[in-house]
Symmetry: C2
Subunit: 346 residues, 2 copies
DNA sequence: TTGTAAGCGTTATCAC
DNA sequence: GTGATAACGCTTACAA
């Protein structure tokens, strides 16, 4: 049934030590011996037992990826990239979802770390990074910026710059009545706060008054939240000719409401989001967005984690991933079609 | 550093056996002893070592989910549900992506099974189920129908019925020039074949001639494939007033092309997909679709796997999950807005 | 009810 | 270059 080193050793007429050496590709094995052992391994279909190996080595070669939800496009795309990058390192990936619930974020960071997994990559929503830092018992890398001193590594894009880029883009189109959707004052998560900060600073620099009634808060970042927020804006007293949504999902929801109300995008209202999710490239109109380099985020997170697994005492780092503005139809209109780099089958 | 049963036992003044009993919630422990041990566990922050436990028990309480890609909405949503359902069972989930490549499908099914994971849920594209059945070394459940005798469990919706439902719906709208996008004759995957079969049978039953030049094959199931396929249809000789796309992603791509060509949906061309991905609810127009019960698929897959882990010799089963037609704007037009169950924030 | 001790399959430390 | 053998941390007969 269970074929282990012992069976292979017996078959090949060597000791378990030698079989282990061959299985692990050790250098100092006589060619003839190696051949014989490899033969026995193949014939018996030997596969090393991961549990035993982990127990002995103290390493599982497995990391855990903790995201709020796997079914939202941004995290799905990110998870896909993390799994791919991890595979290149020979690491397996465990995936957990927190639903943005504080208790689950705490448990996933404090629980498994350093035990069944070698490290954790976590994208927190509800719990402040510094609290997670205090809880963590093993290597942890957080996705999102540092809000206060803590001893964990952080990876994020420059969210203030992202907010500025989106807002500058809308202003450059001649829009002057800008709204923002996606503030999350109730969360211990600085992403929304920083994007809003960049938005406000840019408006101010352009000599436009900050219109607080045109900043809409949302409880979560899904399409329905964006749709509802847009409805509130349209029903409100202020004129709106452009909307900066803090995520693409919010933007898609907002565009849905605009379509239902008969407002043309971008003619009546221009829309720009953040995340560059795949849906944004193919919806009608295609969605202008601030695109974080998700592959880079995944790679940096794994680099950081690898470094920290190797040296738990390494000084903590804040790494900044790139982003760039993708101008598409939801701000440029049909003109975007000609400028766009990835036109669908036409 | 590493706090194990021994340290806890010493601290509580009992044997490791007793600590193990407490940690595992065994019944026969004196209340006073239990209290003292629990205290020591908490104080020392003891966490059982998963590797050692797995080695001893021969169970990892971990399964592996193997999908072609995690960043396509259908698999992202399914993975999310599988992770949730697995968590209820106390199982962790390992996620792997095959990119639909045959070698990876083979490796993921034959490799890890029964070793580092207790079982595998796999959604194959390139490799025929019966070949995977021959390769598998442990409990494996396949997503998709059985194509030939094999000893694995299968979970799928009734794809012939799905094809019929979509096609009947288009016919019921008075459309007579139906096209189909999504045939995959090059793959060892019967899903597309069965949906096409249902489509053809329904056309035939309605007295319409099968128009083979209006069935478009695609190499993959992404939006660009749908967009390109739609362009081919529009450039072709046959009139088309309705399209059945075998996945929602293909449908979204097709709708993109229709918009670019100035064709109105559904007025000029009605579109229906399969999968009920979230994007389809909020795009404009919202996408009519055949919705598989993904939560049920996830649950059935885990039930099957649990049963097979418990009894590897259990007879293999083919389970059929539910589906239902979601009629939205891409076929009904604005009328759908009033009939629809989930209107965005309005 | 609790203690003692034998493995689970590997890797790593000694020898030879 | 290879062979014994002792851990790794846990669960579980078997005793007490």
């Amino acid at each position: 049934m269970a074929v282990g080193l012992r069976e292979v050793a017996a078959r090949a007429g060597v000791s378990v030590r030698t079989v282990s050496n061959v299985a692990n590709g050790f250098a100092h094995v006589a060619p003839e011996t190696r051949r014989r052992v490899q033969e026995a391994i193949d014939e018996l279909g030997y596969r090393p037992n991961t549990a035993a190996r982990s127990l002995r080595r103290g390493r599982t070669e497995t990391i855990s990826l903790v995201v709020p939800e796997l079914d939202s496009p941004y995290f799905a795309e990110l998870a896909s990239l993390v799994v791919r990058a991890a595979e290149e390192r020979g690491w397996a990936v465990h995936i957990d979802q927190t639903d943005g619930r504080a208790d689950r974020e705490r448990r996933m960071v404090s629980g498994p770390a350093g035990r069944s997994v070698d490290g954790v990559i976590c994208s927190p929503w509800a719990v402040a990074p510094e609290e997670l830092a205090a809880l963590s018992a093993g290597p942890v890398v957080l996705l999102g910026e540092r809000t206060a001193p803590g001893r964990l590594d952080h990876i994020a894009i420059d969210n203030v710059a992202a907010g500025e880029a989106a807002t500058r883009h809308l202003l450059s189109l001649g829009r002057r009545h800008l709204a923002a959707i996606g503030a999350q004052p109730h969360l211990h998560n600085d992403t929304a706060r920083l994007r809003l900060q960049g938005h406000r600073a840019t408006l101010l620099a352009a000599g436009l008054p900050p219109a607080e009634d045109r900043v809409v808060a949302v409880s979560t970042l899904h399409r329905p939240d964006g749709a509802a927020a847009m409805a509130r804006l349209l029903d409100g007293p202020s004129r709106v000719d452009a909307v900066f949504c803090f995520t693409d999902e919010l933007a898609l929801g907002a565009m849905r409401t605009l379509a239902e109300r008969g407002r043309r995008v971008p003619d009546d209202v221009a829309v720009v989001g953040v995340d560059d999710i795949l849906d944004g490239r193919y919806c009608v109109p295609s969605l202008s967005t601030v695109a974080p380099d998700k592959a880079q985020i995944a790679r940096l997170a794994l680099d950081c984690l690898a470094r920290r697994i190797q040296d738990p005492q390494a000084p903590d780092r804040d790494l900044v991933a790139d982003h760039r503005l993708e101008e598409r139809e939801s701000t440029l209109g049909a003109a975007a079609r000609r400028r766009q780099s990835s036109p669908p089958g036409s």
